[in-house]
Symmetry: C2
Subunit: 217 residues, 2 copies
Amino acid sequence: MDCIAGLLSLREGQAFVIHAGAHVQDIIDNNQIFRVLNRDVVKFMPLPMAQDIALHDAAGETLGLSVRAFAVPGKIPLYQETSDDPRLLASAAAVIGLAITGPGGQRMVYIPGCAAVTDEVRHEIAQADLLFFDGTLWEDDEMIRAGLSQKTGKRMGHISISGEDGSMAALSGVTAARKIFIHINNTNPILCAGSPQAEAVRAAGWEIAYDGMECRL
Amino acid sequence: MDCIAGLLSLREGQAFVIHAGAHVQDIIDNNQIFRVLNRDVVKFMPLPMAQDIALHDAAGETLGLSVRAFAVPGKIPLYQETSDDPRLLASAAAVIGLAITGPGGQRMVYIPGCAAVTDEVRHEIAQADLLFFDGTLWEDDEMIRAGLSQKTGKRMGHISISGEDGSMAALSGVTAARKIFIHINNTNPILCAGSPQAEAVRAAGWEIAYDGMECRL
């Protein structure tokens, strides 16, 4: 949802290219509301997994960037769920990360949702200069304790930041010059400036994303 | 689209009530992406035609407002079209206006899309203190002449502002203290401050809506 709802605001005839993996492409193709995008103007390009793809604008001009999509442990979106069966919730194609490489070889890795830091995820992150990583929750049950939801982070497909099996521990060896938590839920105490959790994150070399943040490589 | 896309941004567990006519309710019910609205939290209320309905918040408290929906000539949304047949495009239930009455009897009438000013439309507007009306186009073919679209206003279900059969002429007898054109397309020259068209609209007692505009009754 976070990645496709904005398309409904980009329907006014401006030419652009959407690079989408098969799972997202299917959602868009099969949902009537996305017919607001005029296919004569908006071009769709497939986003194959684990391949470096050179990016072009709608006129075919090169952008000097390449993108590589890779599989990340996770689950299908909530609105697509038809069952509580964990085997149906997991889908290799539903959750991806992106590695974007610039003309000078600068590498940004973007993983807004991640259920577990596997060897494959760690491999994709290894060469990053800038890492954006899933910072949804501090602890797995914080939404339940806040009385806001019955869902754990595990049920939502999000690893927590803290703890022995959390992302901060799992990614302690990452050498990226900048590591930034993104996709931060409003129950996550790292959003409170000066909280012990925010301090712990910063002490481990992480930054905390905010609206309007800009990064340069 | 303009009236339902924002629901995707209101999915975070806040309780509210959606009053929707049957046509819009069907769109939302039958589109998977709107499952992001938790039906335990977000309540749907029917919006019958030509009846005054007292409005309440999600906790059942009265808001002191009543709303009345009424049929307006128009067409189904573009993304729902399956044919160019004008008989299929027109739908009595697809396009509505709203009259909202406050505790002191103040009456606002809101008609963002309207293909023709019929006697029924004129009747609903008659008692308005504040009128918001479809100001999409100045002339029926302005999008074609600008090279932006092959569609006329008539094809889109929007009456133009200017001309003998335009909305300004048809609504010249309206007694509302304030009349404001809304839903203004980016090809409409009334958006250019000081243009002859903007001057003509203002000379006829109309205002031109802008982002962030607030009105009090």
